[in-house]
Chain length 412, copies 2
Amino acid sequence: MTPTTREECAALDAADPLAPLREEFVLPEGVIYLDGNSLGALPRSTPGRVADMIEREWGQDLIRSWNTAGWWDKPRTLGAKVAPLVGADPDEVVVGDGVSANLFKVLIAALRMSDRSVVLGEAGNFPTDLYVTEGAVGLAGATQRRIDPDGPALGEALAAGDVAVVLLSHVDYRTGTLRDMPGITRTAHDHGALVVWDLCHSAGAVPIDLSGCGADFAVGCTYKYLNAGPGAPAFLYAARRHHPVVDQPLSGWHGHARPFDFTADYEPAPGVSRFLSGSQPLVADAALEASLDVWAKADMDLVRAKSLAMTDLFLRVTGEAGLVSATPLDHGRRGSQVALLQPEEGSGYPIVQALIERGVIGDFRAPDVMRFGFTPLYLRYVDVFDAATALVEVVRTGEWREERFAQRAQVT
Amino acid sequence: MTPTTREECAALDAADPLAPLREEFVLPEGVIYLDGNSLGALPRSTPGRVADMIEREWGQDLIRSWNTAGWWDKPRTLGAKVAPLVGADPDEVVVGDGVSANLFKVLIAALRMSDRSVVLGEAGNFPTDLYVTEGAVGLAGATQRRIDPDGPALGEALAAGDVAVVLLSHVDYRTGTLRDMPGITRTAHDHGALVVWDLCHSAGAVPIDLSGCGADFAVGCTYKYLNAGPGAPAFLYAARRHHPVVDQPLSGWHGHARPFDFTADYEPAPGVSRFLSGSQPLVADAALEASLDVWAKADMDLVRAKSLAMTDLFLRVTGEAGLVSATPLDHGRRGSQVALLQPEEGSGYPIVQALIERGVIGDFRAPDVMRFGFTPLYLRYVDVFDAATALVEVVRTGEWREERFAQRAQVT
């Protein structure tokens, strides 16, 4: 039941089984951070883990650490730690490169598995997905078709029978809408298409069962809900049944069957390792490892329940004040963020800035959405209550109309 | 003049203008490190720089650091710091992704600029260059031809008139042979081909003048002579004259002309930024920044002179003991490493292992080469003398024949 007072929120915090995990994070004084859907907060263990990697593994053991510190296998050992968060087996996930490169790899790989040539994407997907698809289909002689995946267009497009690959974000980056992964995957397969899921806004935000859904491929970032640090290495999932035949184009020596033979011709490794290319930034990998070790202590069902309770609370307080949500009220269709429509033209950006001045950090996404991310590992119910109350105040007082809040920073 | 005694080496160290830079590095007790051509040593400033980035920029300032800490522009500001080391202008280099992805980008981009379809590579290039070329030509409908670039085959292959792109390593990873960048670039251009230089084994090892040579594209890593840490982000150079027309396939939002408009269609940024794809691992970038700031204090002509003096010294001592070099004796054709042929079949790996037990770290590269890298920023002449003497001892005594030295580690 959604609390209605700050006292009720405090009582929920006192009873929250996830509350101890908040101690695992560094949170700046005087800040309520609702942008963990863009950049997750810093785990307390990260600085020490990274310092040890740099000073001992690199500084003292130098080149030997490729063996002794497990550097060579890091893409696989980190992949195995991501796996339970996305419902995959440990040998179906590798970590390395960025989301863009990984998306390129799986799109080309999937197109090569099909005798069709259409990649079906979403008109409103995060732009890099659209841009990478544009780059991939351009090279592969395929075409991109874009639809609204939350309406009837998806089924209609699939029924045309020419779709090779469906690429969808599991959670929409702007509205926070959660897509029906089991249903869409099944429908796509029924129509002879493969499915690539972009998990950037859902890994660590909602329970994911790639294996249970029969998903083909997935990619995702680790710097949002997974808290691995800005631009941290991405992950790639490929269903085991595809491993023997799949052929990706960024063929580098870390994906070779016998890399230390230094042979002239490429022979892909068995298993998901064939999706690797070159050496990975191990300093960044150390930060990712620290953050995944925090996640290993979290029960995803508890995380999901708290996430829904928090977004319910935020939606109720802001809704009562007249703010309109672009995020579905239906729990089954909601990720772990709330997107509110700006109350009037041009108000979204300055409202977010005025709110930041009050110590509540969210962000604005063009053209009209104020985004607030909810991260149950380190947010309290009282934080959500205070943030929603502050937002309502900013709108009610009109303080956001002050000139200085209109100044655009380069990056929002 | 090459010193002949340890005392003469010590005298050279005492007079060495680069000697103070050794203090900028962490070097483990009791180790002479001749593997900086594979993984550079740790700069003393790196742990502090990374800790500040993690604890202040990420931990305290969180998402705001995309603006306030210059995160968004890091691929460009780091590129500008790499530029003087490769003879490029600051706006011709970006940092990000790995060597493999960058090589893929420039190969496809170069193929698109040509009406020919052959990529001319070297039979003995570092395997990932061969594998990435294989992946790129497979997608682009082009073909790969491999030759020995140090013989007459290069000119003959170019004369055929069907070569679109020449891809060469500036310094051969195995033998340490330095290629004639000005001459080869000119010859390739005379025959209507573009040139991509792989600088992995030459950036920070030898003076490089990409602009002066009229080179078209280059890629390189930062974790060898540039000391940025294992798997650190790579760099990419594109000559300014190509910027307006060049079209690379990993089109992501960081390469867009107006990324924060979140428009659906890709429009490449003006300038070298169009080679960027997605977000970069900023924790690893912080380590790179620290190491480039050390390089800013080094005079490359002094580095080169010391490198040649050191390799001369190592070659003389080992040569007098009968070891045979695969590295050219001609200064004009030598990088900053020495490759010695194993004295008998199967001896290379155990000799290197026995030498490591004596505290001298080099490596073995199949099938028959013992490699030793010379890094003038942190090595002394006495180190080189001691290392060469130890190697001669290991071979003379036959101690490498002990069983335990034959045990292969996973990664050498």
